[in-house]
Point group: C2
């Protein structure tokens, strides 16, 4: 499929370059808006404007919402006031807000100046909600109904008002103060006679979010209840907007990307990798690299305490990378499972004892195997040196045990202290485990090898 599309797009480019614009327009409008946007995103600034202007007005808005932020910026810059005015009125308010949050302030003013007072008011209200709160994610276009309506009246209302609503399949029933009283789906409307009252068929057990809820909460609600849309109410339980499932999916993806970045010791970036400036990338990475570098200097300090032992038996040094690496890997295995388990709600703080017990048993199995393999390997390399084999094997066993338990518990400790558990991912765990595994190794070496 990928390939098929690439061929299509190269054909489009040819039409554009040959100025065969009528043909290009015919071909473009057959496509889905996401595909058209993908095509325009690949064009240079001049060509992208030509292609964008080919689109019929309504479709142009849908395509505009799918474009990259920098293409949107470029197009807004080049548009006349009347073109801009059409687009801004035609966009769903949440998409308009998303765009405005990325635009430089002079362009924000240009856009707002071309919006009707009503749209401007809606946009301004949404811009006030804190970043990543339900209020900032929601759209304000939804189907609002009254419980005194019949099914037939509700259908008439949906029919008349649905052309500019993002989700038309769930109606929200409110009283005259906009207090949310019930929810009725189009499926339920279809299953009931036209003269049934909404009051009798609506569901009053409403899954909802408050404007101040964070996006993690929203993602959890969508995951748990398989929703198509989620109503958002203010602190007085008045309906102010809805979050649609497609926005919830995008948020889910952003959340996961952030978790991956944090778990690799980076400050999460706002833009995709290829669009992020070199200095921003460097800034996102350097803090943690410095913190971890200073931590691993402590490990170096531990090594310097054993310089005498190393001088006596330099071959000890050759086991260090294997011990510290394996400890780091074991620790990141257990910490990753716990961090992810907590992120998707499978593990909570009450499970700490279960986790220690589980990691303890896993460590016995895994640690024993690794210890035996090491013992054999040492004896093959240095025949007769049983004590060295025992030292290395035993260090391995203790390191794995310590790493698994530290890796399992630290993310929970972080959560308990209200610190983001992703901070306890591989890089930090590895650094901590490094120091401890060296102490185990040299401690045992001093005891067993009498050096």
């Amino acid at each position: 499929m990928e390939n098929n599309k690439d061929v299509l797009e190269s054909g489009f480019l040819e039409l554009l370059e040959n100025k065969n614009l009528r043909k290009l327009r015919e071909k473009l409008i057959e496509l889905n808006e996401a595909d058209i946007a993908e095509f325009i995103d690949t064009l240079d600034s001049e060509k992208s404007l030509i292609a964008f202007r080919l689109l019929p007005k309504g479709l142009a808005t849908d395509v505009f919402a799918c474009l990259d932020n920098d293409k949107q910026e470029h197009i807004v810059k080049s548009m006349t006031d009347s073109e801009l005015s059409f687009i801004i009125e035609d966009l769903y308010v949440d998409d308009a807000v998303d765009m405005l949050e990325e635009l430089p302030s002079d362009l924000v003013n240009k856009v707002l100046a071309n919006a009707t007072p009503n749209t401007r008011k809606l946009i301004n209200e949404m811009l006030k909600y804190p970043d990543n709160s339900a209020g900032s994610i929601m759209t304000v276009e939804y189907i609002g109904l009254k419980k005194s309506m019949t099914v037939g009246e509700a259908f008439d209302y949906v029919r008349k008002n649905s052309f500019d609503k993002e989700n038309v399949y769930t109606g929200y029933v409110m009283d005259e103060k906009r207090i949310l009283e019930g929810v009725v789906t189009v499926k339920e409307l279809l299953m009931n006679p036209t003269d049934a009252m909404l009051d009798d068929i609506m569901s009053t057990n409403i899954i909802k979010a408050v404007t101040t809820d964070n996006r993690e909460t929203i993602v959890e609600l969508f995951n748990k209840y398989d929703l198509l849309s989620l109503p958002v109410v203010d602190l007085e339980n008045r309906l102010v907007g809805i979050v649609t499932v497609d926005d919830a999916v995008s948020i889910m993806e952003e959340e996961v990307t952030e978790d991956f970045e944090k778990m690799a010791a980076m400050t999460p970036s706002e833009k995709p990798y290829l669009k992020t400036n070199v200095f921003v990338l460097a800034k996102n990475r350097i803090t943690w690299l410095l913190v971890l570098m200073f931590s691993s200097m402590i490990t170096g300090g531990i090594l310097s305490r054993y310089e005498a032992q190393i001088a006596v038996l330099p071959l000890l040094v050759t086991f260090i990378p294997m011990l510290t690496d394996t400890g780091g890997n074991a620790g990141s295995q257990s910490s990753t499972m716990i961090i992810r388990g907590m992120a998707i709600g499978e593990i909570d703080l009450g499970d700490a004892l279960k986790i220690i017990w589980k990691e303890f048993r896993v460590s016995i199995v895994v640690g024993s195997i690794l210890a035996v393999v090491n013992f054999i390997k040492v004896l093959m390399q240095y025949p007769g040196k049983y004590n060295v084999g025992i030292t290395v094997g035993l260090s391995m066993f203790c390191t794995v045990m310590m790493a698994n338990i530290v890796g399992g518990l630290l993310p929970m400790l972080a959560k308990k202290l209200n610190i983001d558990p992703t901070i306890m991912a591989s890089p930090l765990i590895s650094t901590l485990v490094d120091a401890m595994s060296l102490m185990i190794f040299f401690g045992l070496a001093v005891e067993i090898l009498h050096i």
Copy 2:
């Protein structure tokens, strides 16, 4: 919200223990099926059966679909044939298939024996599709329409048939051979007069999957096109089922968990952490630990080549943890960004040169800062030892450069060779970078310090 619910559930448990079952039933049926299932999942086997049997038949099926696999198994074991027969007919076929895939084979036979021939046939067909293919994920219950129908007729059909369809908001228009010809949403039906022909209003630019497509493809299509449901066709373009957005969201979450596990050098597990047996956990972890342990023995081998230098200047050893750790961290920072970028389709193989150029520049910024910090730190610790400072600083710079470029390129190389790029995550990158950073460090030490 969490707390509120916990309180509720503890109240439920009290009602159950006091055998106040009528009251419990009243309270339970007010809840969402996902919440009821969550409550039953916390109960022991006897209590969970009592609670489950309290539920009205239709609700019981919905709750059953949300239960943990082991609770489902327990309930299936204890059900009479007629109870089982009701549940299996009432379940959406894809949910029934999900359950069957986890049940031991004697219970699978018990379930299939209680299904009607038609349901049994549907289930058996779906069980034949390979794991994680579109065919195995789809549901076979969808709204099938004909293009000769009018909007009014389509509504009548939806009204009559929607009670047992998972997604009733998209109708699929097929010819008499079930070839998929078009798609029409309930929104479009609502926006058109009742005598309009589907042929005239349906959209023929259909986003669809083939039964053999893998689940990554499905997730990509949902992400890109903001779908509520995705039609699945066979190789002859005949419609065989649909994937609904809630299933797509679950798949997305499973995919991400798998990626996290693979990136922490584990074989992905089938069940949640707390439900996975100790030996399965150990088995999932040991393979990669062994592979990486043997790789880091190579690093140890490199160290043993420099035993002479270490004997002359033992303090060199104390810089090793810091250099290898920082190299590993830098490498996992860049590899994580590239792996994630490829997973969500932001980066593809054609971007390799851009990535090298970007990582090269990021390395200059980050590497310089770390090098200078190290130079100063060495001079503070060992005043006058400029050459050692230069050796450590320069090694740090070269290590960061090498680590970022290796971390950026290896995931792309893996993809090019059709290997899963997640394999190139922190653990393997760290091990590779370890060996290279030691060669850089001792190579530079020999040159600069003349040892």
